[in-house]
């Protein structure tokens, strides 16, 4: 079992940035019909979400969140030893988006910088990767950012996806500490499910096939360039494998549901979260849901949820958090950590984007 324990490392802060533009499933009633939209809202719990404009990227949102976090925490940028971004919505084919953020933030050359190509599990894996790097190095502070703008690729006629995705960028500060602080992490993967969530064309396997719309088994038309989700298979995975990972995590760590103050889960959809909550006997008040106002924000969603729930909390309360994230890959896991509510910043809105980064002609280079 891949289980990791990081002693004397803590999550010293977290922040979240969202775009201002609000999208509502109700806006799609004319396109998909009243009944379909109401059914969608009932299953997913989504009543609105945020979307970036044409040129704003996940990298822009992550940059905003990271800048805000370091400013609020009063951190000297030269002390950041690593910057890692989890995303599947990069600014460019290459280089990795984390380098754009590195430049914009003015971080030091003495910084380890790279992207992790993961979706819904990116923060969970990111914590494991960054904490592992810190444990075996002299890095005392590191930034992990995550965000996706999956809606930009979605076929606008795909009722299973177009109303689901929300967009956000999050930033976490990991720090070595002398306090009693521990991060525990369990990660799992199953490549057998690579087709359950997939965008088949545009990669190096099938780069330029025709953009012809074809009727799929679920009755929705798509091209090979459109993100596809095999809903029933993803559902089976989440309601079986995720609770199992959680039970294994409890067994391995000698803990149980009662030991945690907050269950910060990937906000996949309401029906999935209800099933997981029911199976694990998690009291509803310990499992915050932010699907109604943010939609499914991919890897960022557990942090969006913590920032939305505790960002405005006035007391300095120590929280024992159990985070679980699951999705594309298939990839999933469970992580526990302590965080003080004073270190969880409120969600900010930001539509700014890196205009210098928009290259309109190769002659500009």
């Amino acid at each position: 079992m891949a289980i990791f324990v990081f002693d004397k490392i803590k999550i010293a802060g977290m922040a979240c940035a969202i775009p201002k533009n609000v999208i509502r499933p109700d806006d799609f009633k004319e396109k998909f019909g009243e009944e379909e939209v109401e059914k969608f809202k009932q299953m997913t719990g989504i009543t609105e979400s945020r979307r970036t404009d044409l040129h704003q990227t996940a990298g822009d949102l992550c940059f905003s969140a990271a800048e805000y976090l370091l400013k609020e925490k009063g951190i000297d940028k030269s002390t950041i030893g690593a910057l890692v971004m989890g995303t599947q919505s990069p600014d460019y084919r290459k280089p990795s988006t984390s380098f754009i953020i590195h430049k914009r933030m003015g971080l030091s050359e003495e910084t380890a910088v790279f992207d992790i190509n993961l979706g819904c599990s990116s923060v969970l894996y990111g914590i494991q990767v960054v904490a592992s790097m810190m444990m075996s190095s002299n890095i005392s502070k590191a930034l992990l950012v995550s965000g996706d703008t999956g809606s930009k690729l979605t076929n606008q006629s795909d009722k299973s996806k177009v109303m689901l995705g929300g967009e956000a960028g999050v930033a976490l500060l990991l720090e070595k500490t002398e306090e009693e602080s521990k991060i525990t992490s369990l990660v799992r993967s199953n490549g057998e499910g690579y087709r359950y969530l997939i965008t088949p064309a545009g990669g190096y396997r099938n780069m330029n096939p025709p953009r012809e719309e074809v009727m799929c088994k679920d009755g929705i038309k798509r091209t090979l360039y459109d993100p596809f989700m095999m809903g029933t298979s993803v559902f089976t995975f989440t309601v079986f494998d995720v609770p199992k990972a959680m039970k294994d995590f409890f067994k391995e760590t000698g803990t149980g549901v009662d030991d945690y103050d907050c269950f910060a889960f990937h906000q996949a959809n309401l029906y999935i979260l209800k099933q997981i909550g029911k199976k694990m006997k998690i009291p509803a008040e310990k499992m915050p849901l932010t699907l109604p106002t943010y939609g499914n924000t991919s890897g960022a969603s557990p942090i969006v949820t913590l920032c939305d729930t505790y960002g405005k909390c006035k007391e300095n309360k120590d929280l024992n958090v159990l985070m679980s994230a699951f999705g594309i890959g298939l990839s999933w896991g469970v992580t526990s950590f302590h965080i003080n509510t004073a270190d969880i910043l409120p969600v900010i809105e930001d539509d700014s984007w890196f205009e210098e980064g928009l290259i309109n002609s190769p002659a500009e280079l």
């Binding site: 059914k39 299953m43 299973s160 359950y196 088994k217 679920d218 095999m230 809903g231 029933t232 298979s233 993803v234 559902f235 089976t236 309601v239 079986f240 029906y271 099933q275």
Partner: protein, 72 residues
Amino acid sequence: MTNEEKIAMLEDVLELDGGTLKPETELSSIEEYDSMAKLSLIVMMDDEFGKKLTGEQIFKFKTVKDILDFME
């Protein structure tokens, strides 16, 4: 569990009136057998039969009888 009891459970999941389904009923003819119903079916198989119903298996179901056979 008898076939009648299984059919009653299935009608419950699909929110259909009792007596609507027959073993030979084609699933494609049931309007209520939509994506949401399939998720409810996965949950029912787990809760009531402790069985893991996959998306691939659901695609193979053609008639009510196929589902009944899985409810063992």
